[in-house]
Amino acid sequence: MRLKLSSEVVKGDLVERVEELSGQNLSACYQCGRCSAGCPVVEEMDIVPSEVIRLLQLGQVEPTLESETIWICASCLQCASRCPRGVEFSSICDALRAIVLRKRLGGTVVDADEVTRTMVSDAPQMGVVGALRKLNG
């Protein structure tokens, strides 16, 4: 990927918003990749956790908002547990999801009607409530 970088791009408003919402210091990451190595759902992600952080460090927020990755994170916090720099990738994912959901940029990830039909009688309530809150806002 070819990027044209400038200080305005790298320090854009949206990047600041991600840092503020997630409470994470993006520049603390030195790209060791332990978050991606430890992530239990990394195989399904189109952009792996450490790459998402790198894109954000370079001011490239849009591709992260459009990624599948942010909807696949299960908030297990193994990334944070393994990070030598104290960065919580799960919190960055929550922030990116919040930006999409609060602006209503896309459709809902989980169809509540479909969940009602298939899961409610079967799965624990905590799973249904958790998924709807995390993925539908």
Binding site: E20, L21, S22, G23, P40, V41, E43, E44, W71, I72, A74, S75, C76, L77, Q78, A80, S81, E88, S90, S91, C93, D94, A95, A98, V109, V110, V115, M119, D122, A123, P124, Q125, M126, G127, V128, V129, G130, A131, L132, R133, K134, L135
Partner: protein
């Protein structure tokens, strides 16, 4: 001794087996779990976005209900424990959110009508949030449990599965070592089981992602079940109804994915405690399990 108890929605509906066994075990150990007279869902997931006060209110309200009954609240579900413990830390350490949350709570006329004594003072984190296993260790004591054991479980190889929510984030949960926890091993040793250590004991089961895409949770849970099976475990224990669902019910899919897949029963830790304490079978309901543990338990002469 009475201790305030917050069951949460899942133990009130889908995981009645867990609730029933845990209450009865507490009784056998001279503790009465006193269910909060009023409680709501805790919200199930703690918000990881920093600006969210609304998303912690359900947790704060439940903690404020608990504060009327005592200085502790015990819970069993890993999600409830995670949400209540993290919310409590916010109320203790973040003055801005504490003030906002209390303003919202005081505006809750419905709760005030239901409970006259509701929130006379601000909620500032007066209650300690305890997991049931912490109650067993710190209030009852594992030594006392060891003395009360009536049934010999020494032939049963048990793999303790922790999952995510009890342990992470480590600085806030302060439950046990986040990579090598041992509290469930100590518990299993006290009730006389053979403990099976396995590398995936703190990995994620897929959690709520099972609702979005079942295959995601199948892949995660399969790693956990296989890891315990490779270490020759007979059975897995857990304290989370969602982990129980993913690890147990999804074995239906794992059987299709893996030839020669060895099924492993997954039970709640208090169900095993119940067997050890010789609690009547009517309190230990295994009918909801996909992989039925009863043949294994019968083979070991435990039911």
């Amino acid at each position: 001794m009475k201790i305030p108890y917050y069951p949460g929605c899942t133990l009130h509906e889908r995981a009645l087996d867990f609730d029933k066994a845990s209450r009865e075990c507490a009784r056998a150990l001279d503790i009465e779990l006193e269910e909060l007279d009023i409680w709501t869902c805790c919200g199930a997931v703690f918000p990881l976005t920093t600006d969210s006060v609304m998303d912690i209110l359900a947790g704060v309200r439940n903690l404020a209900y608990a504060a009327r009954l005592g200085d502790k609240v015990v819970t069993l579900c890993s999600f409830c424990y995670n949400v209540l413990k993290r919310t409590n830390k916010v109320m203790r350490e973040d003055p801005e959110k504490r003030e906002k949350a209390n303003l919202f709570l005081k505006a809750d006329t419905e709760a005030r009508e239901k409970i006259e004594s509701y929130l006379k003072e601000d909620y500032v984190g007066q209650v300690d949030v305890l997991h049931y296993i912490e109650m067993l260790r710190d209030v009852v004591g594992f030594d006392k449990i060891r003395e009360r054991v009536k049934v010999d479980l020494s032939g049963l190889k048990v793999a303790p599965y922790y999952g995510c929510m009890l342990l992470r984030p480590k600085n806030e949960m302060e439950f046990d070592d986040h990579e090598q926890p041992t509290i469930f091993e100590d518990f299993l040793e006290a009730i006389g089981c053979e403990v099976v250590d396995f590398p995936m004991k703190t990995e994620c089961c897929g959690g709520f992602q099972v609702v979005r895409e079942e295959d995601t949770a199948v892949a995660c849970s399969q790693n956990v079940v296989n890891s315990a099976a490779r270490r020759d475990a007979d059975i897995i224990i857990t304290t989370c109804p969602l982990c129980r669902y993913n690890l147990d019910v999804l074995q239906k899919q794992m059987e299709k994915n893996v030839s020669g897949f060895r099924k492993l029963p997954v039970v709640y830790f208090t169900q095993l405690l119940g067997i050890a304490l010789g609690i009547d079978e009517e309190y230990l309901d295994f009918s909801d399990n996909y992989v039925d543990p009863r043949p294994l338990l019968a083979e070991k002469s435990l039911v």
